[in-house]
Symmetry: D2
Subunit: 102 residues, 4 copies
Protein backbone atom coordinates (compact mmCIF):
# COMPACT_ATOMS: atom_id res chain seq x y z
CA UNK A 1 0.00 0.00 0.00
CA UNK A 2 1.39 3.37 -1.08
CA UNK A 3 1.08 6.21 1.40
CA UNK A 4 1.68 9.94 1.41
CA UNK A 5 2.34 11.51 4.79
CA UNK A 6 3.13 14.92 6.16
CA UNK A 7 5.44 14.70 9.17
CA UNK A 8 6.41 17.32 11.75
CA UNK A 9 8.73 16.02 14.49
CA UNK A 10 9.05 18.17 17.64
CA UNK A 11 11.78 17.34 20.19
CA UNK A 12 11.08 18.55 23.75
CA UNK A 13 13.62 19.28 26.44
CA UNK A 14 16.33 20.51 24.05
CA UNK A 15 15.56 24.24 23.94
CA UNK A 16 13.82 26.24 21.25
CA UNK A 17 16.14 25.67 18.31
CA UNK A 18 15.23 22.43 16.63
CA UNK A 19 16.76 22.81 13.16
CA UNK A 20 19.59 20.32 13.79
CA UNK A 21 16.94 17.72 14.70
CA UNK A 22 14.93 18.49 11.59
CA UNK A 23 18.14 18.18 9.54
CA UNK A 24 18.79 14.75 11.09
CA UNK A 25 15.32 13.63 9.96
CA UNK A 26 16.00 14.87 6.43
CA UNK A 27 19.16 12.73 6.35
CA UNK A 28 17.18 9.69 7.49
CA UNK A 29 14.67 10.20 4.68
CA UNK A 30 17.44 10.64 2.12
CA UNK A 31 19.27 7.51 3.28
CA UNK A 32 16.00 5.56 3.18
CA UNK A 33 15.66 6.43 -0.51
CA UNK A 34 12.22 7.90 -0.02
CA UNK A 35 10.65 10.68 -2.05
CA UNK A 36 10.25 13.70 0.24
CA UNK A 37 9.91 17.47 0.22
CA UNK A 38 10.47 19.70 3.24
CA UNK A 39 8.31 22.79 3.79
CA UNK A 40 8.28 25.39 6.55
CA UNK A 41 6.15 23.33 8.95
CA UNK A 42 6.84 19.69 8.13
CA UNK A 43 7.89 17.32 5.36
CA UNK A 44 5.86 15.51 2.69
CA UNK A 45 6.96 11.89 2.27
CA UNK A 46 5.65 9.24 -0.12
CA UNK A 47 6.41 5.56 -0.60
CA UNK A 48 5.45 2.08 0.52
CA UNK A 49 3.69 2.15 3.90
CA UNK A 50 6.25 -0.01 5.72
CA UNK A 51 9.23 1.93 4.39
CA UNK A 52 7.70 5.29 5.20
CA UNK A 53 6.82 4.31 8.77
CA UNK A 54 10.20 2.65 9.32
CA UNK A 55 11.69 6.07 8.55
CA UNK A 56 9.30 7.80 10.97
CA UNK A 57 10.33 5.35 13.70
CA UNK A 58 14.00 5.93 12.85
CA UNK A 59 13.48 9.70 13.25
CA UNK A 60 12.21 9.15 16.80
CA UNK A 61 15.07 6.75 17.61
CA UNK A 62 17.78 9.01 16.24
CA UNK A 63 16.44 12.15 17.94
CA UNK A 64 16.34 10.32 21.26
CA UNK A 65 19.95 9.23 20.62
CA UNK A 66 20.84 12.87 19.92
CA UNK A 67 19.64 13.72 23.42
CA UNK A 68 15.97 14.61 23.09
CA UNK A 69 14.25 13.03 26.12
CA UNK A 70 10.77 13.53 24.70
CA UNK A 71 9.37 13.82 21.17
CA UNK A 72 5.90 14.67 19.94
CA UNK A 73 5.20 14.40 16.21
CA UNK A 74 2.16 15.33 14.22
CA UNK A 75 1.33 13.44 11.03
CA UNK A 76 -1.21 13.43 8.27
CA UNK A 77 -1.44 10.05 6.58
CA UNK A 78 -3.16 9.59 3.23
CA UNK A 79 -3.94 6.43 1.26
CA UNK A 80 -6.21 5.89 -1.73
CA UNK A 81 -7.27 2.91 -3.81
CA UNK A 82 -9.05 4.76 -6.61
CA UNK A 83 -5.93 5.90 -8.42
CA UNK A 84 -2.23 6.67 -8.11
CA UNK A 85 -1.43 10.24 -7.22
CA UNK A 86 2.00 11.63 -6.43
CA UNK A 87 2.83 14.74 -4.42
CA UNK A 88 3.40 16.57 -7.69
CA UNK A 89 0.02 15.45 -9.05
CA UNK A 90 -1.80 16.84 -6.03
CA UNK A 91 -0.23 20.28 -6.41
CA UNK A 92 -0.74 20.34 -10.19
CA UNK A 93 -4.40 19.48 -9.78
CA UNK A 94 -4.98 22.56 -7.62
CA UNK A 95 -2.77 24.85 -9.69
CA UNK A 96 -4.66 23.89 -12.84
CA UNK A 97 -7.89 25.07 -11.23
CA UNK A 98 -6.25 28.32 -10.16
CA UNK A 99 -4.68 28.98 -13.56
CA UNK A 100 -7.97 30.17 -15.02
CA UNK A 101 -8.10 33.04 -12.50
CA UNK A 102 -7.51 36.37 -14.16
Amino acid sequence: MQVMIDLCVVPLGVGVSVSEYVAACQRILREAGLSYQMHAYGTNIEGEWDEVFAAVKRCHEVLHDMGAPRITSSLRVGTRTDRDQTMTDKISSVEEKLSGDA
Copy 2:
Protein backbone atom coordinates in the same frame (compact mmCIF):
# COMPACT_ATOMS: atom_id res chain seq x y z
CA MET B 1 10.13 1.67 22.12
CA GLN B 2 6.81 2.48 23.78
CA VAL B 3 4.63 5.04 22.04
CA MET B 4 1.43 6.91 22.80
CA ILE B 5 -0.51 8.14 19.81
CA ASP B 6 -3.73 9.97 19.13
CA LEU B 7 -5.38 8.76 15.93
CA CYS B 8 -8.25 10.25 13.91
CA VAL B 9 -9.09 8.30 10.74
CA VAL B 10 -11.21 10.09 8.12
CA PRO B 11 -12.63 8.09 5.17
CA LEU B 12 -13.46 10.17 2.07
CA GLY B 13 -15.94 9.30 -0.65
CA VAL B 14 -18.38 7.51 1.67
CA GLY B 15 -20.66 10.38 2.70
CA VAL B 16 -20.75 12.35 5.92
CA SER B 17 -21.55 9.61 8.41
CA VAL B 18 -18.34 7.89 9.41
CA SER B 19 -19.28 6.21 12.70
CA GLU B 20 -19.31 2.68 11.24
CA TYR B 21 -15.75 3.24 10.06
CA VAL B 22 -14.68 4.53 13.45
CA ALA B 23 -16.33 1.50 15.04
CA ALA B 24 -14.35 -0.79 12.71
CA CYS B 25 -11.12 0.86 13.92
CA GLN B 26 -12.13 0.34 17.55
CA ARG B 27 -12.59 -3.37 16.83
CA ILE B 28 -9.13 -3.52 15.26
CA LEU B 29 -7.58 -1.96 18.35
CA ARG B 30 -9.46 -4.33 20.65
CA GLU B 31 -8.42 -7.37 18.64
CA ALA B 32 -4.80 -6.15 18.64
CA GLY B 33 -4.87 -6.20 22.43
CA LEU B 34 -3.76 -2.58 22.63
CA SER B 35 -4.63 -0.14 25.38
CA TYR B 36 -6.86 2.55 23.89
CA GLN B 37 -9.47 5.15 24.77
CA MET B 38 -11.82 6.79 22.27
CA HIS B 39 -12.78 10.45 22.65
CA ALA B 40 -14.99 12.73 20.56
CA TYR B 41 -12.30 13.57 17.97
CA GLY B 42 -9.93 10.60 17.91
CA THR B 43 -8.57 7.72 19.97
CA ASN B 44 -5.60 7.53 22.35
CA ILE B 45 -3.57 4.34 21.86
CA GLU B 46 -0.49 3.14 23.72
CA GLY B 47 1.83 0.18 23.29
CA GLU B 48 4.96 -1.01 21.53
CA TRP B 49 5.71 1.10 18.44
CA ASP B 50 5.48 -1.76 15.94
CA GLU B 51 2.21 -3.10 17.35
CA VAL B 52 0.60 0.33 17.46
CA PHE B 53 1.55 1.18 13.88
CA ALA B 54 0.55 -2.27 12.64
CA ALA B 55 -2.92 -1.43 13.98
CA VAL B 56 -2.91 1.97 12.27
CA LYS B 57 -2.04 0.28 8.97
CA ARG B 58 -4.77 -2.30 9.55
CA CYS B 59 -7.31 0.52 10.05
CA HIS B 60 -6.43 1.92 6.62
CA GLU B 61 -6.56 -1.53 5.01
CA VAL B 62 -9.91 -2.47 6.56
CA LEU B 63 -11.55 0.86 5.74
CA HIS B 64 -10.46 0.53 2.12
CA ASP B 65 -11.93 -3.01 2.13
CA MET B 66 -15.18 -1.55 3.53
CA GLY B 67 -15.38 0.65 0.45
CA ALA B 68 -13.61 3.90 1.33
CA PRO B 69 -11.61 4.87 -1.77
CA ARG B 70 -9.58 7.48 0.08
CA ILE B 71 -8.52 7.92 3.70
CA THR B 72 -6.77 10.78 5.44
CA SER B 73 -5.74 10.32 9.06
CA SER B 74 -4.24 12.74 11.52
CA LEU B 75 -1.96 11.48 14.26
CA ARG B 76 0.01 12.76 17.21
CA VAL B 77 2.87 10.46 18.12
CA GLY B 78 4.69 10.72 21.45
CA THR B 79 7.76 8.90 22.74
CA ARG B 80 9.95 9.60 25.75
CA THR B 81 13.08 8.09 27.21
CA ASP B 82 13.16 9.96 30.52
CA ARG B 83 10.44 7.92 32.20
CA ASP B 84 7.43 5.70 31.68
CA GLN B 85 4.13 7.53 31.55
CA THR B 86 0.77 5.99 30.75
CA MET B 87 -2.31 7.74 29.38
CA THR B 88 -3.72 7.74 32.91
CA ASP B 89 -0.53 9.27 34.32
CA LYS B 90 -0.71 12.17 31.88
CA ILE B 91 -4.27 13.04 32.85
CA SER B 92 -3.59 12.61 36.59
CA SER B 93 -0.60 14.92 36.37
CA VAL B 94 -2.74 17.76 35.02
CA GLU B 95 -5.70 17.06 37.31
CA GLU B 96 -3.44 17.18 40.33
CA LYS B 97 -2.36 20.70 39.37
CA LEU B 98 -5.99 21.74 38.89
CA SER B 99 -7.15 20.20 42.17
CA GLY B 100 -5.75 23.08 44.17
CA ASP B 101 -8.05 25.54 42.38
CA ALA B 102 -10.78 26.79 44.68
Copy 3:
Protein backbone atom coordinates in the same frame (compact mmCIF):
# COMPACT_ATOMS: atom_id res chain seq x y z
CA MET C 1 -21.00 28.63 13.19
CA GLN C 2 -20.55 25.89 15.79
CA VAL C 3 -17.21 24.12 15.84
CA MET C 4 -15.71 21.12 17.59
CA ILE C 5 -11.94 21.10 17.89
CA ASP C 6 -9.29 18.90 19.38
CA LEU C 7 -6.38 20.93 20.74
CA CYS C 8 -2.91 19.86 21.85
CA VAL C 9 -0.65 22.75 22.94
CA VAL C 10 3.09 22.03 23.17
CA PRO C 11 5.40 24.61 24.81
CA LEU C 12 9.06 24.42 23.72
CA GLY C 13 12.05 25.64 25.65
CA VAL C 14 10.62 24.85 29.09
CA GLY C 15 11.85 21.29 29.61
CA VAL C 16 10.00 18.01 29.28
CA SER C 17 7.31 18.45 31.92
CA VAL C 18 4.42 20.38 30.44
CA SER C 19 1.56 19.53 32.79
CA GLU C 20 1.47 22.97 34.43
CA TYR C 21 1.03 24.49 30.97
CA VAL C 22 -1.73 22.07 30.10
CA ALA C 23 -3.41 22.91 33.43
CA ALA C 24 -3.25 26.63 32.56
CA CYS C 25 -5.07 25.92 29.29
CA GLN C 26 -7.77 23.96 31.13
CA ARG C 27 -8.35 26.99 33.37
CA ILE C 28 -8.66 29.23 30.31
CA LEU C 29 -11.30 26.93 28.82
CA ARG C 30 -13.20 26.80 32.11
CA GLU C 31 -13.15 30.58 32.50
CA ALA C 32 -14.33 30.96 28.90
CA GLY C 33 -17.42 28.93 29.74
CA LEU C 34 -16.74 26.49 26.93
CA SER C 35 -17.69 22.83 26.87
CA TYR C 36 -14.47 20.79 26.93
CA GLN C 37 -13.07 17.38 27.83
CA MET C 38 -9.40 16.63 28.34
CA HIS C 39 -7.94 13.31 27.21
CA ALA C 40 -4.40 11.91 27.36
CA TYR C 41 -3.19 13.66 24.19
CA GLY C 42 -5.29 16.82 23.86
CA THR C 43 -8.63 18.38 24.72
CA ASN C 44 -11.97 18.31 22.89
CA ILE C 45 -13.64 21.74 22.85
CA GLU C 46 -16.97 22.76 21.36
CA GLY C 47 -18.76 26.09 21.00
CA GLU C 48 -19.17 29.09 18.74
CA TRP C 49 -16.21 29.45 16.34
CA ASP C 50 -15.13 32.90 17.58
CA GLU C 51 -15.29 31.93 21.25
CA VAL C 52 -13.40 28.68 20.73
CA PHE C 53 -10.59 30.33 18.76
CA ALA C 54 -10.40 33.25 21.20
CA ALA C 55 -9.63 30.61 23.84
CA VAL C 56 -6.99 28.96 21.65
CA LYS C 57 -5.31 32.36 21.17
CA ARG C 58 -5.50 32.99 24.92
CA CYS C 59 -3.74 29.66 25.55
CA HIS C 60 -0.83 30.77 23.38
CA GLU C 61 -0.71 34.21 25.04
CA VAL C 62 -0.83 32.85 28.59
CA LEU C 63 1.81 30.17 27.96
CA HIS C 64 4.14 32.78 26.51
CA ASP C 65 3.48 34.91 29.63
CA MET C 66 4.34 31.87 31.77
CA GLY C 67 7.76 31.81 30.11
CA ALA C 68 7.44 29.51 27.10
CA PRO C 69 9.43 31.19 24.30
CA ARG C 70 7.97 28.95 21.61
CA ILE C 71 4.70 27.04 21.25
CA THR C 72 3.53 24.58 18.62
CA SER C 73 -0.05 23.35 18.78
CA SER C 74 -1.83 20.75 16.74
CA LEU C 75 -5.57 21.04 16.12
CA ARG C 76 -8.37 19.19 14.44
CA VAL C 77 -11.25 21.49 13.54
CA GLY C 78 -14.67 20.15 12.59
CA THR C 79 -17.76 21.96 11.33
CA ARG C 80 -20.95 20.60 9.78
CA THR C 81 -24.10 22.10 8.36
CA ASP C 82 -26.14 18.93 7.95
CA ARG C 83 -27.04 18.56 11.61
CA ASP C 84 -26.10 19.41 15.18
CA GLN C 85 -23.82 16.91 16.83
CA THR C 86 -22.23 17.27 20.25
CA MET C 87 -19.09 15.54 21.51
CA THR C 88 -21.34 13.12 23.41
CA ASP C 89 -23.36 12.37 20.26
CA LYS C 90 -20.24 11.44 18.34
CA ILE C 91 -19.10 8.94 20.97
CA SER C 92 -22.60 7.49 21.40
CA SER C 93 -22.92 6.95 17.67
CA VAL C 94 -19.81 4.76 17.62
CA GLU C 95 -20.61 2.95 20.87
CA GLU C 96 -24.05 2.06 19.58
CA LYS C 97 -22.45 0.32 16.61
CA LEU C 98 -20.05 -1.52 18.91
CA SER C 99 -22.76 -2.57 21.35
CA GLY C 100 -23.94 -5.33 19.07
CA ASP C 101 -20.55 -7.06 19.25
CA ALA C 102 -20.74 -10.23 21.28
Copy 4:
Protein backbone atom coordinates in the same frame (compact mmCIF):
# COMPACT_ATOMS: atom_id res chain seq x y z
CA MET D 1 0.98 38.16 17.83
CA GLN D 2 2.50 36.73 14.65
CA VAL D 3 1.65 33.11 13.87
CA MET D 4 2.73 30.50 11.37
CA ILE D 5 0.26 27.73 10.67
CA ASP D 6 0.02 24.70 8.47
CA LEU D 7 -3.54 24.08 7.30
CA CYS D 8 -5.12 21.06 5.62
CA VAL D 9 -8.86 21.41 4.99
CA VAL D 10 -10.79 18.20 4.22
CA PRO D 11 -14.40 18.43 2.97
CA LEU D 12 -16.54 15.33 3.60
CA GLY D 13 -19.61 14.26 1.69
CA VAL D 14 -18.42 15.62 -1.67
CA GLY D 15 -16.61 12.59 -3.09
CA VAL D 16 -12.90 11.87 -3.30
CA SER D 17 -11.75 14.74 -5.48
CA VAL D 18 -11.16 17.78 -3.34
CA SER D 19 -8.89 19.94 -5.50
CA GLU D 20 -11.58 22.50 -6.33
CA TYR D 21 -12.09 23.01 -2.59
CA VAL D 22 -8.38 23.38 -2.00
CA ALA D 23 -8.25 25.91 -4.87
CA ALA D 24 -11.06 27.89 -3.22
CA CYS D 25 -9.00 28.09 -0.02
CA GLN D 26 -5.97 29.31 -1.95
CA ARG D 27 -8.10 32.12 -3.40
CA ILE D 28 -9.27 33.09 0.09
CA LEU D 29 -5.66 33.32 1.30
CA ARG D 30 -4.65 35.39 -1.73
CA GLU D 31 -7.56 37.78 -1.27
CA ALA D 32 -6.72 38.10 2.42
CA GLY D 33 -3.25 39.34 1.46
CA LEU D 34 -1.58 36.68 3.59
CA SER D 35 1.80 35.11 2.94
CA TYR D 36 1.22 31.44 2.10
CA GLN D 37 2.77 28.47 0.33
CA MET D 38 0.87 25.35 -0.72
CA HIS D 39 2.53 21.94 -0.50
CA ALA D 40 1.26 18.46 -1.33
CA TYR D 41 -0.51 17.93 2.02
CA GLY D 42 -1.48 21.39 3.26
CA THR D 43 -0.56 25.07 3.11
CA ASN D 44 1.85 27.12 5.21
CA ILE D 45 0.39 30.51 6.17
CA GLU D 46 1.94 33.32 8.19
CA GLY D 47 0.64 36.64 9.46
CA GLU D 48 -1.11 38.32 12.37
CA TRP D 49 -3.07 35.78 14.46
CA ASP D 50 -6.48 37.39 13.92
CA GLU D 51 -6.03 37.73 10.16
CA VAL D 52 -4.78 34.17 9.75
CA PHE D 53 -7.63 32.67 11.73
CA ALA D 54 -10.21 34.87 9.99
CA ALA D 55 -9.01 33.24 6.76
CA VAL D 56 -9.27 29.74 8.26
CA LYS D 57 -12.85 30.50 9.30
CA ARG D 58 -13.59 31.86 5.84
CA CYS D 59 -12.31 28.60 4.30
CA HIS D 60 -14.82 26.62 6.35
CA GLU D 61 -17.64 29.04 5.49
CA VAL D 62 -16.92 29.08 1.77
CA LEU D 63 -16.56 25.29 1.51
CA HIS D 64 -19.90 24.85 3.26
CA ASP D 65 -21.38 27.35 0.78
CA MET D 66 -19.88 25.30 -2.07
CA GLY D 67 -21.88 22.32 -0.82
CA ALA D 68 -19.64 20.48 1.62
CA PRO D 69 -21.92 19.39 4.49
CA ARG D 70 -19.01 18.50 6.76
CA ILE D 71 -15.42 19.68 7.04
CA THR D 72 -12.53 18.45 9.15
CA SER D 73 -9.29 20.40 9.09
CA SER D 74 -5.96 19.66 10.68
CA LEU D 75 -3.69 22.51 11.72
CA ARG D 76 -0.29 23.09 13.24
CA VAL D 77 -0.04 26.48 14.91
CA GLY D 78 3.29 28.02 15.88
CA THR D 79 4.08 31.19 17.83
CA ARG D 80 7.34 32.38 19.36
CA THR D 81 8.43 35.37 21.40
CA ASP D 82 12.19 34.82 21.30
CA ARG D 83 12.67 36.08 17.75
CA ASP D 84 11.06 36.70 14.39
CA GLN D 85 11.29 33.80 11.98
CA THR D 86 9.62 33.57 8.60
CA MET D 87 8.73 30.44 6.64
CA THR D 88 11.83 31.03 4.52
CA ASP D 89 14.04 31.38 7.61
CA LYS D 90 12.89 28.03 8.95
CA ILE D 91 13.75 26.22 5.74
CA SER D 92 17.09 28.03 5.34
CA SER D 93 18.08 27.12 8.87
CA VAL D 94 17.71 23.40 8.13
CA GLU D 95 19.25 23.60 4.66
CA GLU D 96 22.29 25.33 6.07
CA LYS D 97 22.86 22.39 8.40
CA LEU D 98 22.43 19.95 5.51
CA SER D 99 24.75 21.87 3.19
CA GLY D 100 27.84 20.54 4.94
CA ASP D 101 26.89 16.97 4.01
CA ALA D 102 29.19 15.58 1.37
